[in-house]
């Protein structure tokens, strides 16, 4: 995407796009129609001012960095600037792929995300289905209010809670473990525990909030279906299985696609806070590696290459999952 496109140029594209759409023969758009379009643009010129700030924002803070990504193929030296630095082709990528940590990073990234998906994705659905069976009232409302609340806890406080609760000497969880007669576990110093700590704390924080969207979908289920099923003697479980769950499928698919679209980026702010030298072997993911090698060690080009690799894999996953969903279920993002 060219970033130097001026607004005039953009409007020109719009005119072209707009005028070719309504009549199916784009070769020679009727002059009348084009005039109408231009009139519309002139009439609504203020609307272009309305989008101008966000247009500038996305160009500056999103498209210019995309253009800046070329440093992944260069040997970026700040003094020379993005343009002045020398091209090196795929050198940084090759260095990354051949490094001894490449497979560890890839494995950690994929395993943490898959783990989170497998555990974290079904739970809001189950909780929503169960909540939906409770009559509206104080009990339902309290469960909702309480389970939504952790969503608003910041990552830093969340990490602080995890560290405090899991402390081997003073943490409440280890006190319970000791109370039951076991040895305390050094959760955060043990690579084997890291992924579970990360995923389960995420489940605690986000399951309740995740139910909202499913509850909205369940509220849209036609009551007549349930009434008919009751008349036919269906039990509650049968009605959940045959009526409610199928009603949630489109929502599930969309959320699954969106989840996978963010697959390799999500949660990295929390991982960064929980990382320490002792669990690094299990907690080092591509996104945190980009941060350490790029910003702490200032290897800009190398880190940009690693980040680009991450983004490309991510985009490929998204497109693949979307295609599969489209074929199998007719629900898809585009």
């Amino acid at each position: 995407m060219s970033t130097s496109s001026s607004i005039a140029k953009q409007q020109e594209t719009e005119v072209r796009n707009g005028s070719t759409k309504p009549n199916l023969k784009p070769v020679n758009p009727k002059p009348q129609l084009r005039q109408k379009k231009i009139k519309k643009i002139l009439q609504n010129w203020q609307l272009y001012l309305f989008v101008l700030p966000s247009f500038l924002y996305f160009i500056i803070f999103h498209y210019i960095p995309m253009y800046g990504l070329q440093i992944a193929f260069k040997d970026f030296i700040p003094a020379l600037g993005i343009w002045g630095s020398e091209w090196v082709g795929f050198e940084h990528f090759i260095r990354f792929f051949e490094s001894y940590y490449f497979w560890d990073l890839l494995k950690n990234t994929l395993v943490i995300n898959l783990y989170e998906l497998v555990v974290g994705f079904p739970l809001p659905i189950i909780l929503a289905l169960l909540l939906n069976e409770v009559k509206d009232g104080i009990y339902k409302r309290s469960v909702q209010t309480v389970t939504y609340a952790p969503h608003f806890i910041s990552v830093v406080v969340m990490a602080g809670m995890i560290i405090a609760f899991l402390s081997p000497a003073t943490g409440i969880i280890n006190h319970f473990i000791e109370f039951l007669g076991f040895e305390p576990i050094r959760f955060l110093a043990d690579p084997d525990w890291f992924k579970s700590v990360f995923v389960l704390s995420g489940v605690w924080q986000n399951t309740g909030w995740g139910t909202i969207i499913y509850l909205a979908a369940l509220a849209g289920v036609d009551m007549q279906q349930h009434e008919a099923a009751i008349v036919d003697g269906a039990t509650r479980l049968q009605r959940i299985w045959y009526i409610n769950i199928p009603a949630l499928v489109p929502t599930m698919i969309i959320l699954l696609i969106l989840n996978i679209g963010n697959f390799l980026a999500v949660g990295f702010e929390k991982i960064l806070l929980l990382q320490n030298p002792l669990n690094l072997e299990s907690s080092n993911v591509i996104a945190t590696f980009v941060y350490t090698s790029g910003l702490l060690e200032a290897q800009y080009s190398f880190a940009a290459a690693v980040g680009l690799f991450n983004a490309v894999i991510n985009a490929a996953l998204l497109i693949a999952v979307n295609q599969i969903a489209k074929k199998r279920s007719e629900t898809s993002l585009w």
Partner: protein, 301 residues
């Protein structure tokens, strides 16, 4: 759900199971929250030894006193309030007009612009080019680094756009135009007054984001006077704790560190509460707005 027909035995079992399951879920979420509140007002030695596990033991407000005397926390608090207010105002000024324009069917170019915005949700330049850009713009160690790189979020523009599409009738716009009302006037005088719920939802979503965010501050700020609360918290809750909980501590060392650790422990739980306080206070009243925001988003994946 109206139970017209008598419940079967299976249904009753289900109901019992359901209520107990939800009760367990409720307790799992609630317990850590209660623990934090209790720990923040308990004698730290009772907390650390595990003696205090549910209700406060050895009630003391010493922790809160230390927090209120801590200048760094105060400064962080004020900085965060400032970033949150300024950042949210910028967010609203950027998001709402754009969402309204994109909601208008007679806006030539809406498809192209929406595509341009949405694409950034799925592909971005990533951390390093963004950081270099912010650096080149001279925003490192300025307040602008806290409010401009996240001046808008695609998802929020989409939600607002859907809201405008659904709630503002086209006829209203047409008749306003007949009366010679400009788009600007229409937006300020007609659309915004009709859109209080979406303004609240957006202010809340963006506001919570600013309040809770730490990563931008981590990479763009090195001047401690500009640190938002979350970075101060990171030092108290994460950096100090990590060093003490991962090091192999011998008995004698532990003895020496004991008093320092006691002090750290007593303010640890307090700062969790103090930092989340504004959200805790508004949450019960505004819960329905948050929920509404998520639901609008679900209307049109």
């Amino acid at each position: 759900m109206g139970a017209v027909i008598k419940e079967t035995k299976a249904d009753k079992t289900f109901k019992i199971f359901n209520y107990s399951f939800l009760f367990i879920a409720l307790m799992i979420v609630l317990y850590p929250l209660i623990y934090i509140v209790s720990a923040s007002v308990s004698d730290p030695s009772a907390v650390n030894s595990g003696e205090m596990w549910f209700l406060p033991k050895g009630f003391t407000l010493e922790g809160y006193k230390l927090i209120f005397e801590n200048e760094q926390i105060w400064k962080g608090y004020l900085n965060t309030i400032f970033y949150t207010v300024l950042g949210t105002l910028i967010n609203l000024a950027v998001t709402l007009p754009a969402a309204y324009a994109l909601a208008r069917k007679d806006f030539v170019g809406r498809g192209f612009l929406t595509g341009l915005f949405v694409l950034t949700m799925f592909f971005s330049g990533g951390l390093i080019p963004t950081y270099l850009l912010v650096k080149d713009l001279g925003m490192i160690d300025t307040i602008w680094a806290m409010v401009l790189p996240n001046a808008a979020a695609v998802w929020n523009i989409i939600i607002s756009r859907i809201y405008f599409q659904v709630t503002i009738p086209t006829e209203l716009e047409e008749s306003a135009r007949m009366d010679g009302c400009s788009n600007f006037k229409m937006f300020m005088k007609i659309v915004l007054p009709l859109s209080a719920p979406i303004i609240a939802v957006m202010a809340l979503f963006y506001g919570v984001g600013h309040w809770n965010g730490y990563f931008n501050a981590l990479i763009y700020l090195s001047d401690k006077d500009l640190y938002p609360l979350q970075l101060v918290l990171r030092e108290i809750l994460v950096l100090q704790e990590m060093s003490s909980s991962t090091a192999n501590i011998t008995e004698s060392m532990a003895e020496a560190m004991h008093s320092k650790e006691q002090l750290a422990a007593i303010i640890k739980y307090g700062v969790m509460i103090v930092s989340t306080l504004p959200i805790i206070v508004v949450y019960p009243f505004l819960q329905r707005y948050f929920v509404k925001g998520v639901m609008i988003g679900s209307l049109k994946g």
